[in-house]
């Protein structure tokens, strides 16, 4: 049954997945190209110095991309479910509503993980050949909170889409702005390292919100 639900999600999202994958590969590739070009022009010694003294990471272009991919993926997945209350069909399937909801979310989470792993993999693949461990880790660790923001944007946008009332949708939107803003308060490299466990917990907490929206949908809540 999970396979069938994945099949449905695949049909909904396949074009978006392709575009999102190409975009993240393209932007990551461009970041790598920038490092390569800067190294060619100024020499790797200079890059090391700049990274150490000024905290440059060369991955700034990736900052808001996971957020955008997470949010858009949730829209692509759940807006069609809410059109003419199609979600009623999904929840009427002979499968637990909780398992159905989280199977759909699992699809999105797996895809985001794939995107982020590819991006991190590409960065690691190149950066570890030209930088010391401390320097390539500096770049990679800086991207982690952004990827976490991608997951959180996905869960929160899903909750907003699945929520049956506009009042609460607006409330969720405002809460989402505040929560997501937390990931972009400080632009210093690795500034979020000590906070990562807290941010992971917060992201996991937001994964429960779509289920709350589904429960309200099932209870027939209306504006």
């Amino acid at each position: 049954m999970i396979q069938a639900l994945f099949y449905k999600e695949w049909i909904k999202t396949r074009w978006f997945l392709l575009v999102a994958l190409l975009t993240i590969i393209g932007v990551t590739g461009y970041c790598i190209l920038r490092v390569y070009r800067a190294g060619e022009l100024n020499g790797m010694d200079h890059l090391w110095l700049v990274m150490l003294t000024r905290g440059v990471t060369f991955v700034e272009l990736l900052q808001y991309l996971p957020l955008a991919i997470g949010g858009l993926l949730a829209l692509v997945q759940f807006v069609p479910e809410m059109q003419k209350s199609c979600l009623k069909l999904t929840l009427h399937l002979p499968h637990s509503a909780l398992a159905t909801t989280y199977s759909m979310l699992l699809w999105g989470t797996l895809f985001l993980t794939l995107c982020f792993c590819i991006s991190s993999g590409l960065l690691y693949g190149y950066l570890h050949t030209v930088f010391t461990t401390e320097l390539w880790q500096q770049s990679l660790f800086t991207t982690f909170p952004w990827f976490l923001a991608g997951y959180m944007a996905y869960f929160l946008t899903s909750a907003i889409c699945l929520e049956p009332t506009w009042k609460r949708r607006i409330g969720y939107c405002m809460m989402s702005l505040v929560l997501l803003h937390l990931f972009f308060l400080n632009h210093t490299a690795q500034a979020y390292n000590p906070l990562l466990p807290f941010l992971i917990l917060l992201t996991l907490l937001t994964a429960t919100f779509p289920w709350l929206s589904v429960l309200r949908f099932k209870a027939g809540c209306q504006d």
């Binding site: 099949y7 049909i11 003419k84 399937l93 002979p94 099932k218």
Partner: protein, 297 residues
Amino acid sequence: MEPIIQCKNLTHYYGKRLIYKDLNFSVPQGRILGLLGKNGTGKTTTINILSGYLQPQAGECKIFGEDITKMSPIMRKEIGLLIEGHVQYQFMNLQEIERFYAAFYLGKWKKEAYYALLEKLKVAPKQRISRMSCGQRSQVALGLILAQDPSLLILDDFSLGLDPGYRRLFVDYLREYATAENKTVFLTSHIIQDMERLVDDCILMDYGKILLQMPVDELLQTIRRYTMHIPEQQGIPQIAHHSLYHPNVLGNTLEFFSFLSLKEVQQELTKQNYYFTHLKAEKVGLEDAFIGLTGKY
């Protein structure tokens, strides 16, 4: 035998607006029951409660003896649900949607029933549902329900958006299937003529309550439209309200509906010294009976 659907003391409000209070009804196995009512009387509310998408403020509903608020996946397997407007996944094509649903009804899924119905539409298996007309979509939705082969079908306003041809096709197919397979059907429609061809029993809903529940044949055998000529400004006779439905004076003609026989009406009016001539009783169809019992307004 225990009824397939049993609702007791259902009460629901939207905000402060009462939809109904202490609603009781049951649907026996193998019957096709139509829920009739004007807009806003709570038909869709009832369907939503029955399909588990609305928590009533009070009362309980049981399907197959199980509380619907705790509807198990096994129970849902036995309920075919048609959402108002024949909603289906617009992003799928005909083949994809069949493949998707089949995975949930392994060992029970009747693929042939779905494709047999689609054959009549003359559409390609790769046709996307979003590019189909409402009539074609209705056949897709019906085909999927037939393939699911549930014991109970809950259909919300199945005639919405359908032209007469598709309505007839839907009604005939459904009638034949439900009768042959001894299925129980609970449905609503705003087109009463369709109900007359399809349903065995009907529930007539008025604002806040059930007006009556009875077999359609019995209703049509007993309800009469009475017309008579009366002197101008005589007014409406004071017969007990439950015997005389929605009296209406137009010019010098009084019209009302009643379950009383011609003789009983005559006796009642004479008892009140009510002057009338040309008293006439007519049998009516379901639509007229519906309007007669619920009123035009």
